[in-house]
Symmetry: C2
Subunit: 165 residues, 2 copies
């Protein structure tokens, strides 16, 4: 859901920069400390309500996976969107809603995991009465793209009757 | 660090199985509920001490990313290992240690993120006095491989003087 820019990479603290003969490679493990990454407000262009994005890591070739925590205030949700290489959500706190286009809205709780295949139109967010935080993980395609934003989720769509539980 | 088998995929609950004409694709969002996935003891073959693996998601082509929580008791750690396409650790609680071969051991805290490039030999675990939990995320290569296990981390390596902070 989140598009990372190269700026995010610069947020990482590069640890152990001095080279030692003991290593068989010049590649280095990178440690990004808590508190060193700046929270980004979810832009009104792609979110309804108050959402906050905490970038965690971005893809460094040949790796293509990036991730961020997203915190949704009650009533907040993403716009409808798809991901060229899909997305995985790990709910870390609270209660939220997620919906695939044309399907029933589902309630998600801390500990739930949602896997969204490539190209599947969906939205996710908090319920109208609860906060929800998830870790969002997505892979970028060869063009560096990891999300395609679509129209906003209307109040009618958001507040629909959900699944029968 | 974790090798997922196809069994892990079967742990996922497939939601919304009935097709609706509104969807442009037959692909379906999958919801795996908290408590539905079984914790796996970290095998003595690859871990020292008590470690517990909670599988979260495994790669479904064309996606190649899988993830799991790993909980380390005080003193517990992985063996030395590498990842063909690297690994990212998001520390979710506690305090642990991580070390790249030939470099100083580093202390990691909840909220820290560690990115390990492909082929870099390393280990991670709890400190000798604290638990540590991290979300481990790794991509699989074309052969389905995401980890190469190496020798055990000796007590001398584990308890070395760490970085000067």
């Amino acid at each position: 859901m989140i598009r990372f820019t190269p700026v995010a990479v610069s947020l990482l603290l590069f640890a152990g920069m001095s080279a030692h003969g003991e290593t068989a490679t010049s590649a280095q493990m990178r440690l990004s400390e808590t508190g060193s990454r700046t929270t980004i407000a979810g832009p009104a262009e792609h979110f309804t309500g108050r959402a906050y994005i905490d970038p965690l890591f971005s893809a460094v070739a040949p790796q293509r996976t990036g991730g961020a925590y997203v915190t949704f205030a009650p009533g907040a949700r993403s716009d409808w969107h798809t991901h060229p290489l899909g997305q995985t959500l790990v709910v870390t706190s609270g209660t939220g809603w997620v919906q695939q286009w044309g399907r029933e809205r589902k309630t998600i709780h801390a500990g739930d995991v949602v896997q969204c295949p490539p190209g599947v139109k969906h939205w996710h967010g908090a319920t109208d009465k609860n906060t929800m935080v998830h870790l969002a993980i997505q892979e970028s395609n060869d063009k560096g793209e990891n999300v395609n934003w679509l129209e906003k989720v209307t109040d009618e769509q958001y507040l629909q009757a959900g699944e029968h539980e």
